[in-house]
C-alpha cells in the first residue's frame, strides 16, 4: 500500500518505482522504525524493496537495523547516522530523529563495501560500483552513502564513474554524528558499520533525475595555502601544522575540536568559471571533519599542495537567494511536473548550528515549497550529514556546507541536459 499521492499516477508504468517516506522523533529505536513504516505505508508490515534509513546518532543502530530487517525482510535495508533529518514533516535535529524512504519496484538494487577510508577510497568505491553494476547493469542514477570521516569523496566519485560511467548521476551524502567528529554509522541489510559505504542504484527508465546544490557562503581574506598534503589529508597549511594554522585563523585554540570549527570553518576552493556560474558562487566549500594529534586535518576530498583555501563567512541573504535560485532551476527543468520523490542532503553545519530554528524552518519550507503538489510535499528524505553529492556543471561533484537536492520525476523525459 502506498499512501502517497505522488505514487498514484494513473499513467505510470506498473514496474515503475514507488516511493513513500516518513520521519519521526522516537526514543525507542525499534518502535521508531515501526512507526515510520506505519506512517509511510499505512502498516508497519507493508512490503517494499528498499528501505533507506537516516537516523540521528543517538539512536541504537543495531536495533534500527535489526527491526528494519525484521519488518522488511525482503527489502534492501540501507541507512546512515546523521545529525538530523528532513522529511515531509520538516526538519529535526535531536539525538533520536529518524527518516525513512521506502521504495517498491524491481528496477533497483544496492551494494555495500566495508572498510573504506581515505587512503583506499578509490579501490573500495570501485569495488562497490562493480557490485552494484553486477546486480543492476542498467543503472542510471545512484544514491551513494560514504562515511563522513576519513574518506576521499572525490576518489569515490571517480571510482564510481569509472565503473558506471560519468553520465550516471551520483547523489548522496556522507554519514555523520552530531558534529562532534567522533564517528558515523552505516547500516546495510541488518548490520551496522563505521567505515563502510553503500550504493543504491535505480534503473527505472521512466525516472528522470535532477540534482543541484547551493551554499551561499562568501570567501574572505587571504587564502590558506596547502603546503603539505597526502591524499585527503592536509598536513600543513602555510608551512605550519595544518590544524594549528587553521584554528589560529579561526581564532580558536589548537585544542579545540571539530565541533567548534565545523560551524565556522568552511574552507573554500576556487571553481572554474563555467561551473561557478551554475553554482552561483566562485567557490566550492570543504569541511574538516576530524584531525589527528599531529595537526593533520581530514579533508573531504583529495587535496593537492598549492591549493588555496579561503576561510568563509555565511551570508544569510545569499543562502536564501541561492536556495531559491537552485529550486527554481530544478522546477524549470522539470517543466511543471511534480517529483515522485526527493532525496535531500544537507550539511550538518547548515542545521541548528548555523541557523536558529525559525530561519532553519523557513529555509526548509522554502526548499520544499516548489516541489509541493496540491499542498502535499512529495516523499522526501533528507539528511544532515558531513557532505553532499550532487552534479555540478554536468559532472558529479562532492560538496560541503550545501543544500543538495535530488528530485526524481516520472518519464516524459525532458530533453534538457542533465546538469
Amino acid at each position: 500500500m502506498d499512501v502517497s499521492p505522488f505514487c498514484e499516477n494513473s499513467d505510470k508504468h506498473p514496474d515503475m518505482l514507488n516511493f513513500s517516506s516518513a520521519s519521526a522523533r522516537v526514543v525507542n529505536s525499534r518502535r521508531a522504525i515501526a512507526e515510520c513504516l506505519e506512517i509511510a505505508g499505512g502498516s508497519h508490515s507493508f512490503k517494499c524493496d528498499l528501505l533507506m534509513i537516516h537516523a540521528s546518532v543517538g539512536h541504537h543502530f543495531s536495533d534500527l537495523a535489526a527491526e528494519a530487517k525484521l519488518l522488511a525482510p525482503e527489502a534492501w535495508v540501507v541507512g546512515a547516522s546523521c545529525c538530523g533529518v528532513i522529511g515531509r514533516e520538516g526538519a529535526s535535529e535531536t539525538m533520536r530523529d529518524i527518516a525513512i524512504m521506502a521504495v517498491s519496484g524491481k528496477e533497483l538494487s544496492a551494494a555495500h563495501v566495508n572498510g573504506i577510508f581515505g587512503h583506499n577510497s578509490r579501490g573500495k568505491a570501485r569495488e562497490l560500483a562493480l557490485r552494484l553494476k553486477q546486480n543492476l547493469p542498467a543503472v542510471n542514477v545512484v544514491y551513494f552513502m560514504a562515511p563522513g570521516i576519513d574518506i576521499a569523496n572525490d576518489e569515490c566519485i571517480a571510482a564510481i564513474e569509472e565503473v558506471l560511467g560519468p553520465e550516471v548521476t551520483i547523489f548522496g551524502a556522507t554519514s555523520a554524528d552530531n558534529m562532534s567528529g567522533q564517528t558515523s554509522y552505516q547500516i546495510f541489510n541488518g548490520e551496522v558499520y563505521e567505515h563502510s559505504a553503500w550504493l543504491v542504484g535505480f534503473a527505472d527508465p521512466d525516472l528522470e533525475v535532477i540534482t543541484a546544490a547551493s551554499h551561499g557562503f562568501v570567501a574572505v581574506g587571504e587564502p590558506l595555502v596547502v603546503t603539505k598534503a597526502d591524499g585527503h589529508r592536509i598536513i600543513e597549511l602555510n608551512g605550519k601544522p595544518a590544524w594549528q594554522e587553521y584554528t589560529r585563523h579561526l581564532g580558536f585554540e589548537p585544542a579545540s575540536s571539530c565541533r567548534h570549527t565545523i560551524p565556522v570553518g568552511a574552507l573554500a576552493e576556487e571553481l572554474a568559471a563555467a561551473r561557478a556560474t551554475e553554482y552561483g558562487n566562485p567557490h566550492i566549500l570543504r569541511v574538516v571533519t576530524s584531525r589527528e594529534e599531529d595537526g593533520t586535518m581530514h579533508y573531504a576530498t583529495t587535496v593537492r599542495e598549492g591549493t588555496r583555501l579561503w576561510l568563509t563567512v555565511r551570508d544569510e541573504s545569499r543562502i536564501f537567494e541561492d536556495l531559491d535560485r537552485m529550486t527554481s532551476r530544478i522546477v524549470a527543468l522539470a517543466g511543471g511536473r511534480a517529483p515522485v520523490a526527493v532525496f535531500h542532503a544537507d550539511c550538518l553545519a547548515r542545521g541548528r548550528h548555523l541557523f536558529n530554528r525559525i530561519l532553519k524552518e523557513e529555509l526548509v519550507s522554502r526548499m520544499q515549497a516548489p516541489f509541493r503538489n496540491a499542498d502535499l510535499t512529495p516523499p522526501w528524505i533528507g539528511i544532515y550529514g558531513f557532505g553532499e553529492f550532487a552534479r555540478l556543471g554536468g559532472k558529479n561533484e562532492y560538496h560541503n556546507y550545501t543544500t543538495a537536492i535530488c528530485a526524481l520525476y516520472q518519464n516524459t523525459r525532458c530533453d534538457l541536459p542533465n546538469p
Binding site: R25, N28, N238, K240, N356
Partner: protein, 751 residues
Amino acid sequence: MNQDSESSPPLPPDTPEGELTRLRAENTILRGQLGQSVRLKQETLQLNHRLEQELTRFGVMQTLIQKSVVATTIEEFAPMVCESMIDLLECGAAVYWCLNEASPLEKRFYQSGLGAVPDSVLRELHRWTPRAEDSNSLEECPAAHLVSLSAAFGLADRFLFELIRDSSGCPLAVILSGNTPRQSGFQPEGDDSAVTVFKTFAKQVEALIISIQRNQTIKIQSETIRTSGECLTAALASCNVGLWDWDLSSDRVHYSDQWKVQLGLAVDDVGDSPDEWTSRLHPDEREHALKITKLCMVTPNGSFDLTLRMRTKDRRWVWINTRGYNLLKSDGTDMRMIGTHIDVTASKTMESRLIRAESKQRLAKEQAERENLAKSSFLAAVSHEIRTPLNGILGIFQMLRLREEMERDQMLKLLEMGESSGMWMLKIIGESLDIARIEAGKIELNPEIVDLHVLLDDLIALNVKRAAELRLEFRHKIVPGVPRWVRVDGGRLRQILVNLLNNAFKFTREGFVSLEVRADDFRSESHCNLHFYVVDSGIGISRSFSRVIFQSFTQAISKSQSSEHGIGVGLTITKELVGLMGGEIGFSSKLAQGSCFKVVLPIEDLPLPTSTSGPCEHPKNWKFEGVVLVVDDDEISGEIAKLILGALGLEVDLAKNGLLGLELATAKRYDMVLMDCWMPAMSGIEATVKLRGCATALSKDSPVLALTANARKSDAAACREAGMNDVITKPLLLENLREMLKRYLPGCRAS
C-alpha cells in the same frame, strides 16, 4: 602573508613597503576582528540553540505529562519516564528503578538503552539508597563512587541518579541516566546543564507519580462511586422509583430517567423546568399540590408526601406518590429540594378493588344476614305451618277418642278435615324439600307422556270449586291448538300452575282469577311453546316486592298480617322449575288492581297415540286379590299399610326389618312385596338383592315395590337397580297405591 608581517622588521610608514606593511597589519587586525565576529555570532547561535534545546526539553516534559495522563500504573509510567529522560538529556541510557516498602530496591526496573544491570551494581546502589525514615539523599554518594558505579553500569560518564519520593517523603523509585561509552563522545564537553535538567526532570517525575497515585485513588473512589451509583440506579429502577432534584436558586429541576419512564416520557421529552411537573398534575389536585410544595419550599428540613394523579405522554392518568424533602438550611444555604416519584397506580387500583370487594363483602354479609333472617322466618313459618295442620290432626284424633259414638256425618267431616291437614303438611314438606333440592342444585325432572288436557281439566275443576268457595270468579281458557299429548314432567307442570293459582287466590279478595293456555304460532314439527297466563284482580305487587318476589322465604305480607298458608317459597320453586324446563316466567302487576303471571315453556308435542295405553281411569272402589308382604320397621307405617291394603281386599303379612322380610319371602310366595328401604338388621335394598338372588325363594320373582320416604330420583334408581319393580313414595296415598296395585297385581276388579 601573516607570517611575513610577524617575522619582518618594522619599516618606515612613509615608504611603499611601510605602507604595505601597515595595510597588512590592518588586514590582519581586520581578519582577526572578522574571525572574532564570526565566533561571536556562532556563540550567539549556540546560545540560541541552548535556548531552543531548553524549549525542546520543556516540550519533552510536556509530552511526558500528557502521556502520563493515560498511565494508570507504574508499569505504564516507567517506560515513559525512561524514554523522556533519554530524549530530554540526549543520553544513551535511562533506568527507572522501583522501590518497595520492605527493601529499598527491588529487582524490578525499566530501562532504555542499557543491557542487563549486574547484581553487583544493584547491591552497590543499594548502599546509597536511603530507608524511608532516612533523610539522606542519594546525592551524598561520593563522586568517585559514582564514577565506579557508572562503569559498573556500563556507562561512560554523566551518571545521574535521583531518588523519587511520594508526598509523604517515602522513597518510591530511583531514576538513572547516563551515556554509554559509544555515545559519550557525542556529548559536548563541560555541559553541566544536564544535571540541572535532570534534577528538574526528577522533580517533575515525582509530581507525576504523586498525581498518578492520586489518580489511582480517585479512580478507585470513582469506581466505588460509579458502582454505588449503578447499584442505586438499579435498585431505584427495579423499585420503579424516580428521583427529582430541584435547585431552588436557579429554579431548575433534574428529573431522573425513571421519573420520565413512569410518565411514558422519553429522556429528551422533559426539560429542567418545574413546569414539567406542575403541567402534568391533575386539575383537581394541582392547587393542593402547589400549596403543599410551596410550604415545604420555605421550610428548612420540611417535607411532604403527596399521592396525586399525573398525566402520561399518551394522556392517561396515573397515580403518583411523590415525597419531597427540603435541604434548605436555617442559614439560607443549600436551597434545594429532592424527592422521590413512585407510580402507585397499581396499588391504587388494588386499593379501589379492595374497597369494592369490602363493599361487596358487606352487602353479601347483609344479604346473608337477611337470608339467614329469612330462613329463620322460614323455619318459624314451617314450624307454624306444620304445627297448624298437626294441631288439626291431633285435635281430630282427640275428638275421635272422646266421642266414641260419633255420628257418621260428623266423623266424616272430621276425617275430611284430618286428611286436609295431612295434605297441607305434605305440601309444606314437599316445598321444603324442593327448596333444599334447589339450593343443593339437585332438583330433577321426570319427563313422561302426559295428557295435557286431562291435567289442565283436573286443575280447572279443582279451582272452579275453590273459586266458588271463595266467592270468586274463575276464568279459564285453553286456546285451540294446545297439544294434548306432550312429553313433560306432569307433576312439576302441575306444581307450577298450582303455585301460581294458589298465589292468585291467596291475594285476591274479590274479582276473579283466570288461567289461560295457548300455544304460540312458532312451532316446529315436534316442539312448541306453551304460554300459561294466570291473572287475578288481587292486591297486586309493590315495586319493592317485585324485586325480590322470586327469592326464597319472601312473602308480600308478613305472617302476622296474613291468614293464608305458605312458607314463602312457592314462586322460588316455580321460577326454578320453569328454568329447569327451559322456559321463562315473568309478571306484571298494579297495586290494588291485580297481577298477571306468564309462563312460557317449550314442550315436546307428540303425535296422537294409536292406542290409549296410558293411564286408565280407575274407579275408586277397585278391589284386589292376593297376599302382600309389607316390610317396614316403623310399626305405624306398617299397620297403616296393612289396614289400607286390607281395605282394598288384600291379605297382608308384616315384617319388621329386611332380614325378617327376606325369610318370609323365601319361605312363602307373595303376590307383592312392599319394602321399606331404611331398616335395621337389613335394608330393603339388600333384602331385595338377596331375594332376587335366592333361587329357592318362593317370592323370588314377585313384584317388589319400594315404600320409601326418599323421593329423590337417584333413590328410585338405586331401588330399581336392586331389583325392585317400582317405587311408592311415603306418605302412602291411597290413589297412588291403587295405581301401583293395578299395575302389578293382575287380578284387580271393580267392585
